[in-house]
Assembly symmetry: C2
């Protein structure tokens, strides 16, 4: 029965404003919404933009995505890359046996933040609203020691066998950085999946009947929080070896602003002088001679991206700690 498979596209659209990484969400609907939303999100939960694939329409998947994002939100996407295809059964925690199989090809998109329009209440949300343990800019989040690690420790202790118990502890150590090595910003998905398995997020607690505050972080509909975690990990990794930050800042920017954008996404603070050295000596930017006097201190020079770097260097990214 090939017709019981639905194919659609998901977009994780990221922007950074006010030193906060933001993702574009829609308000989940309350009733079945037909082909445009085949999986049913629990009422009131945020979801990622989703669109069906019209086999007759656009030539490529990416064009399809750009088109319906433009139509439904008014946003013109800049950088777009395919993220992952989610096609397992049980993607909807609230789903039932007869539900159709839904294959979602998820894309990551980076934009300069603008005001979205549309009837589905699109809005920019702080990414860390959904994944609060990922933000280490102010140091280790309290949530970790206060809630996450104790709860995970309990989960490890409930393992059926001693072997599995120590395996769980090892996984906790790697993904949450409690072992010899520290926090690895790129293991976003592994962390979410661990919390999911341990039943610490709303999506993996079927007993939760919609209470928004149960579980860690703010939930999303369907498996969209998993998709978001995948996307965040991907950008974090991508920043290292491709100059994608520049998709997120205006044409002219100060180096500190650029740094703040990177920090917002990676979730850790960076050494200012070294960041400057990296980005300047790496030929990623060039000064414009103009100054920004809004800094509050000594005026900062405004820089712009130097696209020629793409022709000169092999992997022109920002060597961010942990790589």
């Amino acid at each position: 029965m090939p017709d019981s498979i639905l194919v659609g596209l998901n977009a994780v659209i990221l922007a950074v404003t006010d030193e906060t990484p933001r993702v574009l969400t829609l308000a989940g609907r309350d009733g079945r919404a037909g082909a445009a939303e085949p999986l049913q999100a629990a009422p009131g939960l945020d979801i990622l933009p989703y669109g069906p694939l019209d086999p007759e329409a656009d030539r490529t998947l990416e064009l399809t995505l750009r088109n319906w994002v433009r139509e439904r939100t008014g946003l013109e996407l800049g950088y777009v890359e395919q993220l992952y295809t989610f096609g397992d059964r049980n993607r909807d925690p609230a789903g039932r046996a007869g539900d159709p199989r839904v294959i979602s090809v998820a894309y990551l998109a980076l934009v300069r933040e603008g005001t979205p329009r549309g009837t589905e209440r699109p809005r920019w949300r702080d990414c860390y609203r959904y994944l609060p343990w990922e933000d280490w800019r102010e140091g280790r989040p309290e949530l970790l020691d206060a809630e996450i690690l104790p709860a995970l420790e309990g989960w490890a202790g409930r393992a059926p066998t001693p072997a599995e118990e120590s395996e769980r502890r090892a996984r906790i150590g790697i993904t949450f950085g409690t072992g010899d090595f520290g926090w690895d910003a790129y293991r976003t998905l592994e962390r979410y999946e661990l919390l999911f398995e341990a039943g610490l997020v709303h999506e993996s607690r079927p007993s939760d009947d919609g209470g928004r505050d149960s579980g860690l972080g703010h939930p999303m509909g369907l498996d969209h929080r998993r998709i978001l975690a995948t996307a965040l990990g991907r950008v974090r990794g991508k920043l290292r070896y491709r100059p994608v930050v520049f998709e997120l800042v205006p044409e002219r920017f100060t180096l500190l602003r650029l740094q703040r954008v990177v920090e917002a996404l990676v979730g850790i603070g960076l050494h200012k002088q070294n960041f400057r050295r990296l980005v300047e000596r790496g030929g990623l930017v060039e000064g414009t001679g103009r100054l920004d006097t809004e800094t509050g201190g000594r005026p900062a020079e405004l820089f712009r991206f130097r696209p020629e770097v793409l022709l000169e260097r092999r992997a022109p990214g920002l060597g961010i700690p942990g790589g």
Copy 2:
């Protein structure tokens, strides 16, 4: 018309024997083959294993893949990761207007080579049969200066505008390493796509009526050579930061053998002593005390993979040149 979309899985199954990277191919069929092979490969062209997605069957896409690969080839897959989802129209160079839209979720799998069975003539093929310009182990392939670069230069010269002409030249420089920086082993896909655009591979020459030797390298059916190029690039990248080589070698191996496997995949020769230093000091392997006397020279110690490294180091891969 959702039922005019077909969803299937493709597997790029890689192994290394005799210092040659190999991919498992099937012989393309001559007639329409129904759901099991919705896209029609040109007769006689090799194709990658393809299986439909049964929405009722396995819980996850990856399990589906493992199962039908086992059933159809007798191979038990080890390491598996999702590669990319190919869903554009015109995936079949020989396709026609009314063809259904086929979405293929492609997976990369690594195995220790075994003998495949099955009715579809599965066989291991040298990856460089299809992408001969990717093998730099014996130095720069002659094919490059003899055929590829002159042909690409011609293509650049035929650009409609001077701007596009210089853009083409820049792309050639980056992907084929003719510029200031050298060969970048990871740009496998970019190179294939450039050759495709330039009409230098069989798949992008509709006029070719099946002559096997027209175009560069050996063709594959549908867009499977593009999928293979994607896979090769992915393994090459993955080797850098994950210990996936060990999926391809027997439990005990000499360091030279390990190096040869890496070299086969990455397509370049490595400095022996440095490779040893990397792999030993990185804690990736441990000596077993046993010796291999088949070396032809001084016997080499047999090593084994040290899985604990996964708990100790952050990104335990092999820092291969170009990263």
